[in-house]
Subunit: 152 residues, 2 copies
Amino acid sequence: MKYKSFADMNCSLAQTLNIIGERWMLLILRDAFFGGKRFVHFEKNLGIAKNILTARLKLLIEEGIMEKQESHPGAHAEYVLTEKGLALQPILLSMTHWGDKYMPDVQGRRITFVERKTGQPIRQMSVVSKGGRVLAPREIMAVRGSGRNSPT
Amino acid sequence: MKYKSFADMNCSLAQTLNIIGERWMLLILRDAFFGGKRFVHFEKNLGIAKNILTARLKLLIEEGIMEKQESHPGAHAEYVLTEKGLALQPILLSMTHWGDKYMPDVQGRRITFVERKTGQPIRQMSVVSKGGRVLAPREIMAVRGSGRNSPT
């Protein structure tokens, strides 16, 4: 990695960025959420160089975000999201909703995410109070916990 | 930029990544959410090189995510989040919650975000149905809209 590592920053956001804070990573994950499983699929769909894709998939597997599966010996390997990988969905949807709002397509909404069972659009990704109220950015504050040893 | 641009990908996530899909960007934004306003603050707090910080702040301003303000002539410039910038909060909190869960600190929770008025922790960033139910990753699906012209 040519980047400064953020792994030593004692911050959950920095920890997350240390893994997925690279553009290709989130696009590979997006394709995986849309059902992409094979190396050639990611390669063609994203127009990503083989060596970069290989390195990114390796890291995703090492971090437990994806698993490599082979249905039978000699079959094409499939890359499948683990539970840890599936838990990234709120991040991807938050980014998608922000893009929908602030960088809209002139022809209208690109993709709408709906609840499979009802066909109803999901709610806008929002910060929500314990009581269920959508909170404005300045309505929240940070409280330091026991695991937070250095001020930032 | 040495990266391939994702601006031509007709996808809201790619549009978002085209701006904030770079590790320093989100850490600068994190510091701005925590009240950081000055060049020297970001520089010292993040350990980021001057030229990189300058380029990132320039892009954040060009994209309308931050504004440069000078309280009076000769005063230190302050970099302040716009409404478009503040709207990134769900992305940052989704990343923080994921890091809290999957890369916890051995000493306990690093930071808890609470509602300022009540002191109660905010809800976990989640995908929520129109009816208010937290949805599992596989309970949602994508529906193509009018602005979506190429299959992915």
